[in-house]
Amino acid sequence: MSSANTTLAPVLIIGARSDMARACALRFAQAGHPLMLAARGGADQGAQGDTGALVRDAADIATRHGVTVTCHAVDATDIDAIPAFLDSLPSLPGIALCAVGYMGDQPDSQRDPQAAARVLRANFEGPALLLGALAERFAARGHGTLIGISSVAGERGRASNYVYGAAKAGFTAFLSGLRNRFNGTEIRVITVLPGFVATRMTEGLDLPARLTAQPQEVAEAVFRAATRGRDVVWVRPVWRVIMAIIRALPEPVFKRTRL
């Protein structure tokens, strides 16, 4: 663990500034994987001219685990820039994880098509096309692991967040299709369905403790899935049960619920 283990595949983390992504990055680094952290702004300085958030996280991970960590700028919603972003990486990663996500505000999304489009792009179009582009490069090389952090919100559309849910549903379907396409090859596709997670995105929300995972739990589940081979990861198994019930409700019943 002391020196960077060159035999381990480099891991690309897209949307690396989120709490979940940071926990995943730390977990892969703990196992000795070199990292490429990609986020909006890349290695830019912070607002006060201090160390930028991504550089701060990169130094933290490198100091803790003695692995090589590089910082890269990416805007997941700028799909024209995807090839240039992938070309700018020091190498094609062995594992790519996309943790890009943006909850938005459901009432805003209902009123303002631009707001809704931002949610759809940040949760579906951007992440799907980024992983799609990586899939093509992995296919050309012959191997690679793609990990997409989707959401249980994509399992069924609900009044309270169906724009976000629809985007995540799209992302889940996209990952499922990729997995189907690459079955029998050395390319693996993992869908992560975290449920509630205590992160900056949910800070201030009153979430039930038994249903709420810590970012470290998500990271552990992602790492295990990547090393042991799982297709779909429910971070807290209770969510699998809850969503099975919610999916099983007949539409005439479901439409009357307030979930």
């Binding site: 663990m1 002391s2 912070g46 607002a47 006060q48 201090d50 958030a53 701060r56 996280d57 130094a59 933290d60 100091t63 803790r64 685990h65 003695g66 900056r200």
Partner: protein, 445 residues
């Protein structure tokens, strides 16, 4: 929108004080929180026992948990104030490094360790946390940041070490780790039938890296001060059985056992504690001699039980920790232990330790001895504590602010004249209007 009003306590769960807690995510947000006008205090993992880390506006440092750099040539680690010693061990023990000074919990942040200038089982030979702190960056009330070290802003450096967060907010610090060959400690246990035997054992083993005694506070008469003195050395590779040498840093993982409920207040009573103590001492005597113990069990036995503070029930508990100067140690300890045994108040955890040299403007340790006890919050304990305060004062002793939850301002000024200077210095620097804890208000700091 200001954060909601909550009631917060320290690790002893007593007292509980109203406060608003915010957790800034970066330096900019921290600086703006300071400009709010309300007095603030920084809080790490909340392991101070009393009201040290509670203010009108409490600033949680939990988001300042990044490590910054490590130099294997010197063992110097630079990290943000919210990084815990546990995180340091997780990252660096596998590479052969360990904190140079650690208190009895690894759930302490660097900021908290500096603010309390914590000590460990090696104080007699190596000093307190200050001795391994090269520098830190401190944010003042106006949001400006000063580098503090022995050479730069030395005054601020020395008053922040042990200054209980009352000098500003520690942002990041450079500390030196020690090289270790294994994750194991070679422990030697010496049973001591009474106080003199225990203190003699400390004196005879000043060259041991670690020394501490568990003391049976309910033993009286000739058995007064009956103890198990525990010495420790970092085990070398050669000390390990051959089977362990291939992976010397691999030690048993302690399962995260969590204390599930508040025990009823009567569960820890003089009878149950007396029975436990007698058993523990008898077992210790049987196990006397040398053995290998993993680092976690040796340094942090209580960390293995999450929320062990619930042992004392809902009303919580108080710590009493004093230091006595070398020349007053024997009579002072005799008087204190006599008073405790006579009161019958049950202290479940009682620890005695020899301190080495220390000469700091505000830090707790002094050359001599320290005695740490805890008591459930009840009328008997509350009645006993002022008596122990007086005995400590009569023997030239003073108190550890990281443990204190109920001392009077009068007791503090009587036992620690340095604190009057500290309070005056705070006023002269305009700090007393900005950095204020419930404890500093109570103690007139």
């Amino acid at each position: 929108m200001p954060p909601p009003l909550v009631h917060l306590s320290g690790w002893g769960r007593y007292p509980r004080r109203p406060t608003r807690v915010s957790a800034p995510r970066d330096i900019g947000a921290l600086a703006s929180a300071l400009q709010g006008g309300e007095p603030v205090i920084a809080r790490g993992l909340g392991r101070a026992y009393g009201d040290s880390a509670i203010a009108a506006h409490t600033l949680s440092m939990r988001h300042f948990d990044r490590m910054i750099s490590f130099d294997p040539a010197t063992g110097q680690l630079v990290a943000e104030a919210g990084v815990s010693l546990g995180a340091v061990i997780d990252a660096f023990l596998p590479r052969g490094w360990f904190p140079s000074v650690t208190p009895g919990t690894k759930f302490v942040t660097l900021g908290g360790a500096i603010a309390a200038d914590v000590h460990g089982k090696n104080h007699h030979g190596e000093g307190s946390f200050a001795a391994f702190t090269d520098w830190f960056d401190l944010m003042g009330a106006d949001g400006s940041v000063s580098r503090c070290s022995r050479d730069e802003n030395a005054d601020l450096f020395w008053r922040t070490l042990g200054g209980m967060g009352l000098t500003g907010i520690v942002l990041r610090a450079a500390i030196r780790l020690r090289r270790v060959e294994t994750g194991w400690i070679r422990q030697r246990m010496i049973p001591a039938a009474g106080l003199d035997a225990a203190l003699d054992a400390f004196d005879a083993h000043m060259d041991a890296t670690y020394s501490v005694a568990w003391i049976d506070c309910l033993a009286s008469g000739p058995a007064l001060g009956r103890s198990l003195v525990m010495l420790g050395e970092h085990a070398t590779l050669a000390d390990l059985p051959p089977a362990r040498r291939a992976r010397p840093f691999l030690t048993p993982r302690h399962r995260g056992l969590t204390f599930p409920v508040d025990l009823p207040g009567f569960a820890l009573n003089p009878y149950s504690v007396r029975a436990f103590n007698a058993l523990y001492y008898a077992m210790g005597r049987r196990k006397a001699g040398a053995g290998l113990v993993d680092w976690d069990s040796y340094f942090y036995p209580l960390d293995a039980i999450g929320q062990w503070n619930r042992l004392y029930g809902r009303r919580g508990f108080m710590q009493f920790q004093c230091a006595l100067p070398l020349d007053q140690g024997r009579p002072g300890l005799r008087a204190l232990l006599g008073a405790i045994a006579a009161s019958g108040a049950a202290s479940f955890l009682a620890v005695l330790k020899r301190f080495g040299p220390q000469d700091s403007p505000v830090s707790f340790p002094m050359p001599g001895y320290t005695l740490a006890l805890d008591f459930p919050v009840n009328t008997r304990s509350l009645g006993l504590m002022p008596h122990l305060d007086r005995l400590t004062a009569d023997h030239g002793g003073r108190f550890y602010l990281a443990k204190d939850s109920r001392m009077s301002a009068d007791t503090l000024s009587r036992t620690d004249p340095r604190m009057g200077d500290f309070a005056a210095w705070r006023r002269s620097r305009g700090l007393s209007a900005h950095f204020v804890s419930a404890q500093s208000e109570r103690l007139g700091l």
